[in-house]
Symmetry: C2
């Protein structure tokens, strides 16, 4: 059994034209023997956003802290601590932080795609 | 895309000789088209605990709120908001709330076993 605080794993920073102020960590993954799905934690700084994209695997997201929005079908939907979001495979999506505090959410994906 | 607050789905209460003060909700499951893994949210009241058991599927847990302990190999390990726990298949485990506030965590399982 692995017990880890989200802040412990080394964070990977994402910063480019399409992504701003995002750090990602693998909390539970293949290295731990998790063969079916992988838990990552993403933190978006104030003003940060993930890329708007789609891919052929799903996301299961749970918002741990902060407040933001998720892009769904041409509009933005408010999310905050305590919200779950299911993004089906091949559906366009994007997250952004609309608050002044970090937006933190776990985002799980099936085994197969890159873990981070 | 489904966006839902954890408090929205109907809760199932668990109360018996081996489980106390536990409610469970499916946040993302088969009904939503989640074919690979399922997200549930469990809430343990103060003094509450889940059964001590093992089964042939894994858990990926993220603690959203509160403070408690997880049983691991004969001892109790402290967990609190922000901790992730990976329980491999067939490993004995149990969660208990050691605080005065509700302990809330998401617990994900692979598709196959009952969702709740």
């Amino acid at each position: 059994m692995k017990v880890v605080h989200y802040s412990e794993p080394t964070a990977r920073q994402f910063e480019s034209e399409v992504v701003r102020g995002v750090s990602g960590r693998v909390l539970i993954g293949r290295e731990d023997g998790a063969d079916h799905f992988c838990m990552r934690l993403f933190e978006l700084a104030a003003g940060g956003f993930t890329p708007r994209h789609r891919h052929d695997w799903e996301h299961e997201v749970f918002v741990h802290a902060g407040a933001g929005q998720v892009y769904r079908d041409g509009t933005w939907v408010a999310v905050a601590a305590g919200h779950a979001v299911f993004v089906p495979a091949n559906e366009e999506h994007q997250f952004r932080n609309t608050g002044s505090e970090p937006l933190r959410f776990v985002c799980l994906i099936p085994a197969g795609p890159p873990e981070l």
